[in-house]
């Protein structure tokens, strides 16, 4: 294995001995000229307003476009629980799965339904049969309408993707402006202690366009994504 590694790296080094020109630098008359100086991705990516209200509004707009059900709830945990009970009743849930956490436990516990917990190992079949997976998250990203989850924040890898309905419970402080801020947040949380083994930006429910480019939800993962934010 070490031999193969050395052989491959040697070929790479040898190939790189001849320096290369930067692409499309020459005779490019058609492109917009590049703006000189050092620039960060945030300058070019979609704009996000500085205030909380702007971010909240942008998140709501993007989530809606992604067909996620985003609800910004006034009234703290009790209001969140009431909202969730309503959803459970309407959809006729028979059981939920969740993981340890202040919001998740409060939410799942108040439903009066059987609860599968993932943090100490679980039965895959049992998880698959749950009506919903209720998870916390690392952040909500206004720029893209995404939910950022990790294996640490959200009860492992499968919980947010195996049950047919993924419910995210979050706090308003968790809304971040953009992708750059999301990665900065992860770095501040984990770069010292070690990153979780899975980090995922979830943007809307599972979807496919593989049949005639027509959007169908719930291809493999959840058909529904609900984000409850207090």
């Amino acid at each position: 294995m070490n031999d193969q590694r050395e052989q491959l790296l040697t070929r790479v080094r040898k190939a790189l001995e001849v320096p290369a020109e930067k692409p499309a630098g020459h005779h490019d008359q058609a492109s917009e000229p590049r703006i000189a100086g050092k620039h960060a991705a945030t300058e070019w990516l979609p704009l996000v307003g500085p205030s909380f209200e702007e971010r909240l509004a942008l998140y709501a707009k993007n989530a809606k476009e992604l067909t996620a059900d985003f609800r910004f709830i006034q009234g703290g945990i009790p209001a969140l629980v009431a909202e969730l009970q309503e959803i459970a009743k309407t959809e006729g849930w028979t059981g939920v799965a969740t993981h340890a956490g202040e919001l998740t436990e409060a939410a799942a516990g108040a439903l009066g339904l059987p609860v599968v917990r993932t943090e100490c190992g679980y039965d895959v079949d049992a998880l698959e049969k749950c009506s919903a997976g209720i998870t916390a998250c690392e952040a909500l990203v206004a720029q893209t309408g995404s939910v950022l989850v990790t294996s640490r924040s959200s009860g492992g890898r499968a919980l947010s993707v195996l049950p047919p309905h993924h419910v995210v419970v979050a706090r308003r402080e968790q809304i971040v402006a953009d992708m750059t801020e999301a990665y900065a947040l992860l770095a501040s949380r984990y770069s010292e202690s070690g990153y979780p083994s899975m980090i995922s930006f979830i943007s809307g429910p599972s979807r496919t366009g593989d049949i005639e480019r027509i959007l169908v939800l719930g291809a493999h993962g959840p058909k529904r994504l609900t984000v409850l934010c207090i």
Binding site: H26, H27, Q29, A30, S31
Partner: protein
Amino acid sequence: MNITLFVPCYIDACYPKVGQSVVEILERLGHTIDCPREITCCGQPSFNSGYWDETREVAVKVLDRLKDAEVVVIISGSCGAMVKNFYPELFKGRPEEAAALALSEKVYEFSDFLVTKLGVTDLGARFPHKVTFHDGCHGRRELGIKAQPRALMAQVKGLELIEMEEAETCCGFGGTFSAKFPSVSSAMGEGKIASALETEAEYIVSNDSSCLMHQQGLIDRQNKPIKTIHLAEVLNHR
């Protein structure tokens, strides 16, 4: 201004009116025109076919004949791109590289020359027809020409421009490609013409006769109810 006009080979042979229109327009604007007899072709067919040595034989002569020109106008986006962008590539690391770069600096495609260099858009033309415009790929994507022909057409009295959806899509000519892969080339051309027909225009206008030669060839074969015309002829029409 002393303008040296580069008339591409196929315009010389098949579309002389395009060249004549350019001469008349530029002379009316008070410029002196020179059309060097020795220049016939830029060498693009062999260049695009991979025969760069043979291309250099032609291009060296072009470089030499145009070295003293004040400004060079080429009546084609494609030939313009060849001289402006690809000659420096062709002579990279060779003694002629400096001459190629110097020529590149003073070469203009016709519509670009009028609008960018001369700052002229109104040529007093009248062309009472519905037209749609085909952006030749080399003019569009090698030279960045998009607004110039439209600025010129906007000043033509009676002309109504209806943009087609596929204005910037290649018509499938591609020089020797059209003969190497005729079925693909023709299918692309059919798509182009279908898009033009959707506009119900009477004419497809372009700043590149080579694209129009391909499109007209298909139109004639398939009896489609549309005609092609070079921008210069439109601008010289009264």
